[in-house]
Subunit: 487 residues, 2 copies
């Protein structure tokens, strides 16, 4: 028995190691294709040569090539070898960088956003709009079992009022996971919230007053703009490179011109652009903002959904003054419907905690206890690994499909994590009109207009890749591409 079990375990481990190896190889090749080092028609090294070069087994190279063939990056020519395919080689270029304007604009996106999100549960809609993922990506069964147990164990306490800052069990797990991500958070810094949106809202309310200027990236998640609008803030948009994030020069210029109170930013797998800011730049960015006395509200919602090997550090890891408020939640990784998020408030923690009390008293007890148990059980890490693989594969599928299906001149982002793509059509194309026509065909997208106070992104849209690109959805994407061509 023992021998059989340990053989199975060893085999399981070997298989896992093997998977890591060939996926790493595949990623590297995709990188070469995406940066156009390898182009359509280029021949890849033979399996034998590449295996020698990379010091991996023949099987590993073969699997990596097969994976890329499945994804459409490569094609096999009989008797000849592996070549970069037409689609792979013509992968749409990256989106362009917007010009700087630094206007302090009033925000008006709530009406548009409402129209969009009101249809969140419309089952018939092709799910390319709001940032959701396929139900099978979330551990509903496991959570249900834990919830049933936790509810039984909690008894009356599950129904009674809980502590305003959050339940001890969850706070402990959040602190523990933060340490694993290289963050040392004080126990008095954390606060459990109703999702990341409440966390950001509370942070902004603690840091700003109506009429103040808030810096945001451009483009920026429309939810940020909605929240700013609801608080009467004016926003100044900082031009943002789709691959590297805001430049420090632009940021400093924006600070000098607009005298902002805070910078609301999404440095890890930016929504909608998908970039991750490099560590060095993160350090400089935090220092620059601290020098100018500008607080930071950091949205780290997608931080655990990295396609690379390591989880990027949040800005908060470089915070020396306590002026970075880190916000996140379980909504993109474990359970959107549980509405459990959190924040680490730095030196603003106490103020934010009092606002939470005046805003919603505390967050649902049983959801907190269930997530604490789920995270402490260790199942979360395994789940996250699978989720990252799934999203990486889906994003690759959608990227290639966009390159293949959409009209010439279409550009697309190169996300390093998350499950969102930013698609830029030729200038002059109107994605509000595209959105209307798409909705009439029961296809959801988020038009670029929502990601800015101006009309800089009228020709762009955000494409959600949270659902596998199969069957009806493949057809829907083809239809969408056709509509884009007709514009």
């Amino acid at each position: 028995m023992t021998t059989v079990t340990s053989t199975v375990i060893r085999r399981g481990r070997a298989r896992r190691r093997d998977r890591v190896l060939y996926q790493r190889l595949a990623d590297e090749l995709v990188g070469l294709i995406e940066t156009r080092t390898l182009r359509a028609g280029d021949r890849l090294p033979s399996v034998r040569t590449y295996s020698r070069q990379k010091r991996v087994s023949l099987a590993t190279v073969l699997r990596a090539y097969q994976l890329l063939e499945d994804r459409g990056y490569l094609e096999v020519r009989p008797q000849s070898g592996h070549y970069v395919s037409a689609a792979g080689g013509q992968l749409a270029p990256s989106p362009s960088v917007p010009r700087a304007s630094f206007a302090k604009e009033e925000v008006r996106v709530a009406d548009l956003a409402w129209e969009l999100l009101a249809r969140v549960n419309d089952k018939g809609l092709a799910p390319f709009g709001i940032a959701t993922a396929a139900p099978e990506h979330y551990p509903a069964g496991r959570l249900s079992r834990i919830l049933a147990r936790v509810t039984r164990e909690a008894g009356a306490a599950g129904v009674a009022y809980g502590p305003p800052v959050g339940h001890e069990a969850l706070l402990h797990q959040l602190g523990r996971r933060a340490v694993a991500a290289g963050l040392a958070l004080g126990p008095d810094e954390l606060l459990v919230t109703n999702g990341c949106t409440e966390a950001i809202q509370l942070a902004l309310r603690a840091l700003t007053r109506a009429g103040d200027v808030l810096l945001v990236e451009s483009p920026s998640y429309y939810g940020f703009l909605e929240t700013a609008e609801s608080l009467g803030l004016r926003v100044a948009e900082v031009p943002t490179d789709p691959e590297t994030g805001v430049s420090l020069e632009h940021l400093e210029a924006a600070i000098r011109r607009t005298r902002p109170r805070a910078f609301l930013t999404n440095p890890n797998f930016h929504n909608p652009l998908g970039f991750v800011v490099a560590d060095d730049r993160k350090r400089e960015l935090v220092a620059l903002l601290a020098r100018h006395g500008v607080a930071v509200v950091e949205d780290d919602l997608y931080g655990d959904l990295h396609f690379g090997d390591t989880r990027p550090a949040p800005l908060k890891a470089f915070d020396q003054t306590g002026d970075v408020v880190l916000c996140s939640s379980f909504s993109k990784t474990v359970a959107p419907g549980y509405r459990v998020g959190w924040l680490a408030g730095g030196r603003h923690a106490q103020r934010i905690r009092k606002l939470k009390l005046a805003t919603s008293i505390h967050t649902n007890t049983l959801a907190q206890l269930t997530l604490a148990e789920y995270v402490s059980g260790g199942g979360a890490e395994h789940h996250l690994r699978r989720l990252r693989q799934a999203f990486r594969a889906q994003v690759a599928d959608y990227s290639l499909a966009v390159a293949r299906l959409f009209p010439e001149g279409t550009r697309v982002s190169r996300p390093r994590g998350g499950h969102l793509l930013w698609v830029e059509l030729a200038r002059g194309k109107d994605t509000m009109e595209l959105s209307r026509r798409a909705l009439a065909r029961r296809i959801g997208i988020v038009p670029g207009r929502l990601f800015s106070t101006g009309d800089t992104y009228g020709h762009c849209f955000r494409l959600n890749c949270g659902f596998p690109l199969r069957g009806d959805r493949e057809e829907a994407l083809e239809t969408l591409a056709g509509l884009a061509g007709d514009l």
Copy 2:
């Protein structure tokens, strides 16, 4: 089998009818004692005489008398009959009515409130402070079973994003219960929120801007003042009669002098005073506010906890213009820790719904589905009947104990529902100091200072009667009375 069952049912019905009869009789007698129609030492009619007068059985009268004896209102003198007891006859008088000032004050209560609520889960504290009730008062077991079933049935949908306005099943039940309370709410008016606090917060954000004046009753629930503070509102406090609520004259004067945007009010079983506004006055009040273009945010949190036979109508029932926003939740009646509230936004509904999206997206899915199922099952009405009886008895116990234990000159409110008492010590006594000394003895109370922006209520405090007055708690109340005497 059938015969036995129906006999049991008939007996059960008879017993229930009987209980209604003797409790009604007991209430009537308490009313006579509280209004001092009957005083200490007064002899009650003999059981036989009273039974004839009231056309009820001897057993019913006997039980009513016994109940009042148990509660300390009456005492039995052997061979002589029932007499109003010293404690019952000396029931503390009602609190006094504050003078009008109509200052538009900035609000600063959050720090104090935080100190208080941070200790919500401190098990060792005598629970006379925040407005909670004993765990056994809530249907934890029943809810757990429903939650387990609902979670299983919902599957992936329990974990996925839900509709921002709330789940259809719960919205339906809320609409249905509203109809039962004489309210016809439009299906597009309702919004599910994270408790009543979020409902009120969203309503105020839709109706006001920082710097605006908000009218509140005086005294007023400190949570209202916290929320106003967090939104940068100034409040004007309208003098409020402890038995009848704000007078229309005072209200109109306050409107003319302070030009408020909204009136935040708690007409049914006011926190902390316990009064209910009469229907006629409700109608006039709503009309008066509509005439002056002042919106109403109505907190109906305690509306289902009436001591009398019928549930009072909310102000919303008299709303002709759509300017009344009705807010409530399950937090005082079914499950505080579930954090599920709602509002009916009238003509402001759409605006408020958009704010909800920008504030917390939506409310926990499984909590909503569980409460929908609980309410639709009919168990809620039975539970509420028992809860009302328990709170009525507890409030009577605490009222009598205050009259018996506290120093002469102490006044106490006459709540018509809910589970809160307002205690007024002699002028000059400092309940902030009382609160500090009480905390040192592990007793929680809420000092009067929290219920106003000024120091009108420095000699008052709120006493929570949510827990049966037994054992340790009886001792704690005695200790508290001693501390009050020493001030």
